[in-house]
């Protein structure tokens, strides 16, 4: 009777658990015979190959629909954020210990490599104060030069320590690249320090201006050698500012770009802390 057989089968299962790994009588490995394993593995192989193929196909179709020059949606980043170099929101160093600020200096130096005259002299000069529109159908766009020398004291050419040694460090600011961005007005960077008495600051280029000729940006593929305009701020710290943490806030001013969003601390502005130890 059926139930008897079931019971017998059960007993076997219980008594020899080794059989569940390999059963020599039926040739079952982990409860399946070799052919059963082969069949199921073959099925999964075919199945997953098919899935992989389908995935590749859909990805390929999707990539075909994309434009090479401009992403389909740009509404997530309508306006640029402001970023500083060296790439740290907490700058702290000992001005008398060169090893201490070496990373910052090296970072600035490598960052400015692209702005070397040797790189920039291929680019023709543009008309200052106007957008450099290139909507003439030419796929490769021309680039306006931004020379390292524009940064004068903070260029690292005359002072290879970017002022870190003397305790008057340079910080570079740049606006994030946004394709097609054309700020209205005359953009310039203004920094403030929340402190009782003002700290003197030098901006390079003068007044922290960002020339409109660097806009708009046409994207990586079209604008291959594009360099972002930079603004350098040299904080002229005095003795009484040392050993204190100073909060510096820089904003893009003079344009329609937003720089005072309550919940967004990087939209058109940046706040960083700086502490110089003697």
């Amino acid at each position: 009777m059926a139930s008897t057989e079931d019971k017998a089968a059960n007993k076997e299962n219980v008594s020899s658990w080794k059989d569940s790994i390999y059963n020599p009588r039926t040739g079952e490995l982990l409860g399946r015979t070799a052919s059963s394993w082969a069949l199921i593995l073959l099925f999964y192989l075919v199945f997953y190959c098919f899935l992989a193929g389908m995935f590749a196909l859909t990805m390929w179709v999707m990539l075909l629909t994309l434009d090479d020059y401009v992403p389909r949606y740009r509404d997530r980043v309508p306006e640029p954020g402001l970023v500083i170099r060296p790439n740290s929101l907490d700058i702290a160093f000992n001005k008398s210990d060169s090893k201490n600020y070496k990373t910052y200096v090296n970072h600035l130096e490598s960052f400015l490599q692209r702005y070397n005259d040797s790189m920039q002299e291929n680019n023709d000069d543009c008309i200052s104060g106007e957008y450099y529109m290139q909507d003439d159908g030419e796929m490769t766009k021309k680039v306006c030069p931004f020379r390292r020398t524009f940064l004068s004291l903070c260029s690292g050419l005359s002072d290879t320590d970017f002022g870190y040694q003397e305790g008057k460090p340079c910080v570079l600011l740049k606006m994030n690249r946004i394709i097609g961005l054309k700020p209205i007005g005359d953009p310039y960077i203004n920094c403030t320090i929340k402190k009782d008495h003002p700290v003197q600051m030098h901006y390079f280029p003068s007044e922290g201006r960002i020339d409109k000729m660097y806009f708009p940006y046409y994207g990586k593929k079209a604008h291959e050698n594009y360099v972002q305009p930079l603004v350098a701020v040299k904080l002229l710290l005095t003795k009484e500012d040392y050993n204190k943490e100073l909060a510096v806030e820089c904003r893009v001013e003079g344009t329609n770009l937003r720089n005072n969003d309550e919940r967004d601390k990087f939209l058109g502005r940046v706040t960083f802390r700086i502490k110089v130890v003697e």
């Binding site: 995935f55 990805m59 994309l66 990586k220």
Partner: protein
């Protein structure tokens, strides 16, 4: 023990009863006269069990890890991100809320029972200090002098001291359907058999009695059975076993994956903290948080549906048990039968006539025109002391309450049905004298005036044991004519008597005589004590036989059970012959199947020569059962498909149930009496009768049939099987979304892509959007063969088996995950991050100081905006939607499911578009086209599953079925 001894023992007085002071003292000593309910687990333990059982432990682990991670972050970083803290809080909330939810669901269903219990208040009439007082039965103490009358429930075990025609109905205690008389005389050594003890909670049917309480509460016979019952350990319900098995699998997978990737993460150079966070993510993704709540809701929905069909489910998990049942042990009286004696057959004019025994009088009628029948009905009506209780004119005859003996009531109802008002007949034929039934005479007679006012003769009518009646007869009435009783007629009588007796029916003989006017003139004083009139040479009229007939729906229900592969066993306290007759009547012993004894009788050989294997059916007497060894018992249960156990004691019922369970069967027991309650409790599912069932049986049972209809069990089996099927679908549906939830983590860790799916989002999917469609799968209609297939084998047919896992994880889940990843890549690519750039981008992506992450188009993104584009969940949901349609299997006319899908979409849309969600859950508005990214994959799932089903149908038993049918 004599009455005096009893009095002395309990310091009571036969007339005055106890003094109030004594009663109060005894009450204090013995406690109230009530059955102690089985010890219940305290509420907080139940609550904790819900809170810490199942997956909760895993989630608690996750939550604690979260808090730990946050604590470490808080200690080491200046501005710790609140993520881990929030996640920990959310996880804790999830566990607590689902725990509360399950707890209240459980509590709700068990409260129904409590209200049930309160419906039966009891009063008792006691004599204390010489005064009769009505008190609560709970306050009755040993020694109390008690008076009971017909219709009362006996409030305690009573030693009867005086009785007047007292009969008690012991059916709830012993299963015997006939009331038994009670008198002060001791007739038997066994207290259960003796006539001078009436038992707690049995009913006094007629007469009055006075007695001294000898036992109260748990010390009564009833109480002892109840204690035996409540002391029994019951195993886990099959569904609980299944769910536990399932939890083990999932927990195993979760822990394995979690630990593997924890180690992997450490090897890959992640910090401890990050590795712990991965661990949390993997655990959360693996655990279907909403599933247990889903299961509870599904079971509740089914329980509600069953309650509508008059099956009240006490224990939620029992809903499914009936579906797995492979053996039903059914009590006879009151469950299979109506628990109401009814006239089944009559023999007159040398012919057996069948009476209608159905509950609604739909059966065949017999020829009522015969003069003999008129005489027979007159005898039956007149020689009968039963009468309808007043005020029941609107109630149908069969349902009216009758004062009187069960067989007399049966006759009364039979005559009332076929000949009209018995009372009018009795009014016309005034009773002049009467000799009631007693066990020495074994007959009852009465003398009446005749209907015809001009006829001054008296009519003597008599009924009683057929052979005694026959002895007193010299003539027999045939076609209205009196004929001398010859040998041939006696032979015919014997045959009829044997035949009816063989049907398990109780046979009564009827005879009458018109007394000659010259000997007994009008006004003749009949003396019944010293019989001064003729009581022999009577005219035999006919036989009537009575049985407690099976309920109309039972044979059909038994047939359905059998076609559903369920073995139906009858277990009764009644006599074997009656039991066998009823078993044959309802199909428990099906037509053409013979017992060993039948075969022996047919072949005319001794019973010992019959091969027991030839007989499929068997009837076993309780006294034989006692001598059986365990092996013999197993042998009987295994080799006979149709079994009847008669004359069984409560303990034996228990043994039978245990025997079935030992053979691996899942046993349902139906019963109504206290004697059934140990078996009810021991069974995997006990089914009690709501109307006729005793309190104890209801307490022991898991399910109560409110209408006492055995056919409801079939409904229960169907619902149970359906819910098992649908739970599989629900679980398959829920598990599928595990793969799309886990894979992002794995890829995040291994190939360093940005994390597509946050832990909070996973919780949203599991608890928010996935729940309603999963629950709506409980509304799926049954497949047509649901009652034709064999009951599931609990050792082989699991709720979650490797095939279900293979489909959910290996196949559908994979497609779904690919759909999810595809939409992830689409969304990122269309925002500027091409797939080629994504691999390995994670470090920069998650670097909190990096604010100019460059995308493939040269744009630079700062922190906040990067996070915005991570909103993959909707694609998953979209695939889900189609999946649900498919899991919906055969019939897609499930309105609730469609509603569930809309709900899912609406909720997803709400989460996506509601302002503020970007802050609360980091979900951002989705562009309309992104909703359709995963469409090819949805379509693939649809085609794949339909193709699978098509092959299943076309090619049953093939490889596809072996590998994919869950």
């Amino acid at each position: 023990m004599s009455v005096e001894e009893v009095c002395r023992k309990f310091q009571t007085d036969l007339v005055q009863g106890l003094t109030n002071a004594k009663a109060a003292e005894f009450l204090l000593r013995d406690g109230p006269n009530a059955l102690t309910p089985p010890p219940t687990t305290p509420e907080w333990v139940k609550f904790c069990r819900q809170l810490f059982g199942g997956f909760s432990i895993l989630l608690w682990t996750g939550a604690i890890l979260c808090f730990l991670a946050y604590a470490i972050q808080a200690a080491t970083e200046d501005e710790p991100a609140g993520d881990n803290l929030y996640l920990g809080i959310v996880l804790t909330a999830v566990v607590v809320i689902t725990g509360c939810f399950s707890y209240f669901q459980e509590a709700k269903s068990s409260k129904i029972m409590e209200s049930f219990k309160n419906m039966v208040p009891q009063q008792a009439l006691v004599i204390r200090e010489g005064e009769k007082v009505q008190i609560n039965a709970e306050e009755v103490v040993a020694g109390d002098l008690i008076e009971v009358k017909g219709g009362d429930r006996i409030p305690a075990d009573i030693r009867v001291t005086s009785a007047h025609g007292c009969k008690v109905d012991n059916s709830s205690l012993t299963g015997e359907s006939e009331p038994q008389s009670r008198s002060p005389d001791c007739t038997h050594d066994n207290p259960l058999e003796t006539r001078n003890v009436a038992f707690f909670s049995t009913n006094c049917v007629e007469g009055t009695a006075r007695g001294i309480v000898i036992c109260t509460g748990d010390r009564t016979v009833m109480g002892r059975i109840a204690t035996l019952t409540s002391g029994l350990e019951t195993g886990k319900t099959p569904i609980a076993v299944e769910i536990e098995h399932f939890i083990h699998i999932i927990t195993g997978v979760a822990v394995f994956l979690g630990v593997t990737f924890f180690i992997l993460a450490i090897i890959l150079g992640y910090t401890w903290l990050e590795a712990v966070i991965f661990l949390i993510g993997i655990i959360v993704a693996n655990v279907p948080e909403g599933l247990l709540a889903t299961v509870t809701v599904c079971l509740t929905l089914t329980a509600k549906r069953m309650a509508k069909k008059n099956c009240l489910v006490k224990n939620l998990e029992a809903v499914e048990t009936l579906g797995s049942t492979s053996t039903i042990c059914s009590d006879k009286t009151g469950t299979l039968t109506q628990n109401r004696m009814t006239v089944a057959h009559m023999w007159f004019d040398n012919q057996i006539h069948e009476a209608d025994t159905t509950e609604d009088q739909s059966g065949a009628a017999f020829d009522k025109s015969s003069v003999t029948w008129l005489s027979l009905s007159r005898v039956a009506a007149l020689c009968n002391r039963a009468q309808f209780k007043a005020g029941q004119d609107s109630v149908s005859i069969l349902k009216r309450d009758v004062a009187g003996d069960a067989s007399e009531s049966a006759l009364l109802k039979c005559i009332e049905l076929s000949c009209g008002s018995v009372r009018m007949m009795r009014d016309k034929n005034k009773k002049v004298a009467e000799i009631p039934f007693n066990s020495t005479n074994k007959y009852q007679l009465s003398v009446h005036e005749t209907e015809d006012p001009n006829d001054n003769r008296y009519l003597l009518v008599m009924k009683g044991a057929p052979e005694r009646i026959l002895d007193r007869c010299s003539t027999i009435m045939l076609q209205g004519k009196e004929q001398p009783m010859d040998e041939e007629m006696k032979e015919a009588f014997q045959n009829a008597y044997m035949e009816l007796g063989g049907l398990g029916e109780r046979v009564l003989g009827f005879c009458h005589l018109l007394l000659p006017e010259d000997q007994y003139p009008k006004g003749f004083a009949f003396d019944t004590d010293d019989v001064n009139f003729q009581t022999d040479n009577l005219c035999f009229v006919g036989l009537m036989s009575m049985i407690d007939p099976p309920r109309a729906a039972v044979p059909d229900a038994v047939g359905k059970c059998r076609s559903a592969g369920i073995k139906v066993i009858m277990v009764t306290g009644d006599h074997p012959i009656t039991a066998k007759a009823i078993a044959k009547g309802v199909g428990i012993i099906s037509e053409g199947n013979e017992t060993v004894e039948d075969i022996a009788a047919r072949l005319n050989i001794p019973v010992s020569q019959v091969n027991p294997r030839d007989a499929k059916a068997c009837v076993i007497h309780g006294s034989d059962l006692k001598d059986l060894s365990q092996d013999q018992m197993d042998d009987i249960l295994r080799n006979h498909t149709e079994i009847v156990f008669a004359r069984t004691s409560p303990q034996q019922k228990l043994i039978i149930v245990e025997g079935c369970q030992r053979l691996g069967a899942i046993v349902a027991v139906t019963g109504d009496g206290v004697n059934d309650s140990p078996a009810l409790k021991k069974a995997d599912i006990g089914v009690a009768m709501g109307i006729s069932g005793s309190d104890v049986s209801k307490q022991a049972a898991d399910m109560i049939l409110l209408d006492d209809n055995f056919a409801s069990i079939v409904t229960g089996v169907e619902e149970g099987r359906l819910i098992f099927d649908n739970l599989k679908k629900s679980i398959a549906y829920t598990l599928t979304s595990n793969i799309p939830e886990i894979t992002p983590f794995l890829f995040f860790i291994i190939v360093n892509i940005p994390l597509p799916l946050g832990t909070i989002t996973i919780l949203c999917i599991d608890l928010g959007t996935d729940m309603v469609p999963a629950i709506s799968l409980a509304y799926e209609a049954a497949e047509s063969d649901i009652m034709k297939r064999q009951p599931r084998n609990p050792s082989r047919d699991k709720l979650v088996n490797e095939r279900l896992i293979s489909i959910a994880y290996g196949q559908i889940g994979m497609i779904q995950a690919l759909g999810g990843f595809f939409s992830y890549f689409v969304i990122l690519a269309e925002n500027g991050f091409l797939p080629s750039q994504l691999v390995g981008i994670r470090l920069n992506w998650d670097d909190r100081s990096l604010n100019d992450l460059e995308d493939s188009y040269g744009q630079q993104w700062y922190r906040k905006k990067i996070k915005i584009i991570l909103i993959d969940m909707y694609a998953c949901i979209y695939v889900d939607m189609f999946l649900a349609l498919i899991c919906g299997a055969s019939k897609r006319r499930n309105k609730i499911l469609i509603f569930g899908l809309f709900e899912e979409t609406a909720l997803a849309a709400f989460l996506s578009y509601c302002p503020g969600m970007d802050v609360a859950l980091r979900m951002y508005p989705l562009k309309p086209t992104w909703w359709f990214c995963a469409f090819p994959y949805s379509f693939l799932i649809f085609v794949y599953d339909e193709a699978r089903k098509l092959i299943l149908r076309r090619n049953p038993g093939g490889w596809v079925e072996k590998e994919t049918y869950y």
